[in-house]
């Protein structure tokens, strides 16, 4: 008898995805598919509640080729990700109800299922399996963006599969150092395996110089695809960091750099989905930094930030997705004034923007402060961390710029682009409405944020609504908005222009391609010359031999019989000498 409570709940979503992929297209099956897309995450969440009955539940133990695997582990950390992924799965399902696409539905289910199964896995090999499945299943969402997304999808797939391979190699080396155990607990950087696993996570998580896939693939995916993609991959990577690398110092610096550099790229970027991808990168930086700090407050901040970030980032991607659906573009240079036609979407976008900028009473206000506070508290013991705290504050002003102001302003306000469109479809509005409500509810001072804090892995006695926190946060935000108004009025704020902004991927998309082409060209030229040289040498030898031995050659000419006898004798002596020495 199968014990269903021993099965990793993510598997149910994966199975639903497979069913979705197999059932043929018709109105009735389409309805069934949409029921699965929204219902399967709810069932998965129900299964998690059934399994998670004590502080830590370990199950699904199997042994393959002498390796013990723990395919299921739910504790206070993985439980948050499990529920969060189910919640966002439902919202994504509602957002995509209008889309009659079997590939999107089945990919979304398998992808979200793999992400849930990955975070609920108890060993590195099971993690690797679902790590790769997220890559393979999600690339279809990128390709659904159309022909222009094909190359980006290939690059996305290549990098993510590479990340999985590095993870596997790292896991094997790490297990060798740990007596053959593949248990997925604290990993650290004590051995090469730990470094390789960190590199694998770094690719998925968007570490500096490994981040380009995000800004390359996400803006090119389909409207629904981008919303789905933004929720799972990077947050799964953050989970693996929070599980395996808590308190690893290098992450503080990596995270701080991650918060700052995307701010500049987002500023000059015209495609608003790409701006949001840079913004996603910047927010991941806060989380990575918090994991590096590693105190209970920091980890609570990270987990809380992950939870609200998935919701408000999806909300922002949904609102821009709704604009693309109606207007056909997400280029800031061609939008503006859309609040006249899409006021409800504009309102939801403003709530998302306020949430990401950490306005009081909106989501990130109650979580991001925990990360920044934890850095400042630690800086009291290690003054070098004040630089990191200053970088995080700088990045907070940057968040206000690209996500708090730029995205809603250039889409819905700014100059009137003259576009008159319909409001977003009802299902998109419902999904955005639910996400916006959660952004408000999870930061609500009376009973709201406390519910969020109850989910955190450590007891949270942090009080976000103190006068000093509210006032100083508002100082930062009001100052940023004032600066925006002044710069805009004085004409110093840059106008949005259609362009391709170069990023680090230039090194492999242009420079790398040029090097490969050059090597190929050089090789071809060398090959041609080598062939010519070989042919010429062969011809020369051939001619020489022909000149000597052919009927018209030197040896065929008449010669005196005495000369022939001398030559024969010379040859005989030569042979005799050779035989003597060889023997």
């Amino acid at each position: 008898m199968i014990d269903f409570l021993q099965i990793n709940p993510g598997v149910w979503l994966i199975l639903s995805g497979i069913i979705c992929a197999l059932i043929p297209n018709s109105f009735l099956t389409q309805l069934t598919r949409k029921c699965l897309v929204t219902g399967a995450p709810i069932f998965t969440a129900f299964m998690i509640t059934q399994i998670f009955t004590s502080d830590i539940v370990v199950g699904g133990k199997i042994s393959i080729a002498g390796i013990d695997l723990t395919t299921l582990r739910i504790d206070s950390l993985s439980m948050v990700w499990g529920y969060l992924f189910c919640l966002i799965g439902v919202l994504n399902g509602i957002f995509g109800l209008h889309e009659k696409c079997r590939i999107t539905d089945s990919s979304a289910l398998i992808y979200s299922g793999a992400a849930i199964a990955g975070v609920l896995s108890g060993d590195l090999l099971t993690l690797f399996l679902f790590w790769e499945l997220t890559a393979i299943s999600s690339v279809f969402l990128v390709w659904r963006g159309g022909e222009h997304a094909y190359a980006a999808g290939v690059r996305y797939l290549a990098l993510h599969v590479l990340s999985g391979v590095i993870l596997l190699i790292g896991a094997i080396i790490h297990a060798n150092y740990n007596g053959g155990s593949y248990a997925f607990d604290h990993i650290g950087l004590q051995n090469l395996g730990g470094w390789l696993i960190l590199l694998a996570i770094g690719i998925k998580c968007g570490f500096p110089f490994l981040h380009m896939w995000m800004q390359d693939a996400y803006p090119k995916a389909s409207v629904t695809g981008t919303v789905i993609l933004s929720a799972f991959t990077t947050k799964m990577a953050i989970y693996t960091l929070a599980r395996g690398y808590v308190g690893t110092e290098i992450l503080i610096y990596i995270g701080a750099v991650m918060t700052c550099f995307p701010v500049f790229f987002a500023l000059v970027e015209n495609d608003l989905r790409r701006v949001l991808s840079f913004s996603l990168n910047n927010q991941l930086g806060f989380m990575v930094c918090g994991i590096g700090i590693g105190t209970e407050l920091a980890i609570n901040g990270v987990v809380g930030q992950v939870f609200v970030h998935v919701i408000f980032k999806s909300l922002l991607f949904m609102s821009i997705g709704a604009v693309i659906y109606r207007v056909g573009t997400s280029k800031a240079s061609e939008l503006g004034g859309l609040f006249r036609s899409m006021p409800i979407t504009a309102l939801f976008c403003l709530i998302g923007a306020g949430s990401i900028a950490a306005f009081p009473l909106l989501a990130a206000f109650v979580t991001k402060a925990m990360i920044i506070s934890s850095v400042i508290y630690e800086a009291h013991h290690n003054s070098a961390l004040y630089v990191i705290a200053a970088m995080l504050l700088f990045a907070s002003a940057g968040v206000m710029e690209h996500s708090g102001i730029k995205v809603p302003y250039f889409t819905f306000f700014s100059h009137d682009s003259g576009r008159r469109v319909k409001e977003a479809p009802w299902n998109m509005l419902v999904a955005m409405g639910l996400a916006a409500s959660l952004c408000i509810f999870l930061a609500f001072p009376w009973g709201g944020y406390q519910m969020l804090y109850d989910l955190l892995p450590y007891e949270a006695d942090y009080k976000p609504y103190t006068v000093d926190h509210v006032v100083f946060q508002l100082q930062l935000l009001f100052a940023a908005i004032t600066a925006f108004c002044i710069l805009k009025k004085s004409g110093l704020y840059p106008a949005e222009k259609r362009s391709e902004i170069l990023d680090f991927d230039w090194f492999y998309r242009k420079c790398g391609l040029y090097i490969v082409k050059s090597i190929n060209h050089t090789w071809n030229a060398l090959d041609t010359r080598l062939s010519n040289a070989t042919r010429n040498t062969y011809n020369t030898i051939n001619k020489s031999l022909y000149g000597i031995f052919s009927p018209i050659g030197g040896f065929s000419k008449t010669a005196p019989s005495g000369l022939a006898a001398v030559m024969t004798a010379a040859m005989l002596i030569l042979v005799l000498i050779l035989v003597y020495f060889v023997r």
Partner: protein, 121 residues
Amino acid sequence: MSSIRKPGQPGKAMSKHEGIHPFAIPFLWLGNKKVIDRFIWIPFFGLILTILIGLLYPQKHPAPWDVLPGSWALIGFVSYSLIVLCAKPLTFLLARPENYYGEGGLLDPEFSVENVEDEND
């Protein structure tokens, strides 16, 4: 798909609120130039107010920069301005034509304002 008219040039048959969502009608003043020009006073007064309250309620766990009154306002203003002022050199360094990579990176060329005249569907 959207219909596009040049800003400030409504078509002959276009009534005052044609194409405007009913929920947006009470908020059309948001697009008024005077309102936009005067909007700056809201964050500015908010800024002054929060700086004053900040003097009365200082940070419980101050960082070294918190000895300055209005330190976070200063950080916010300077950081934001610095970021925006980097735009020009960054654009010069990094911006290339949209088809730079030549792999069909244009998601929506047909929706460009330059290419589309008044259209309805």
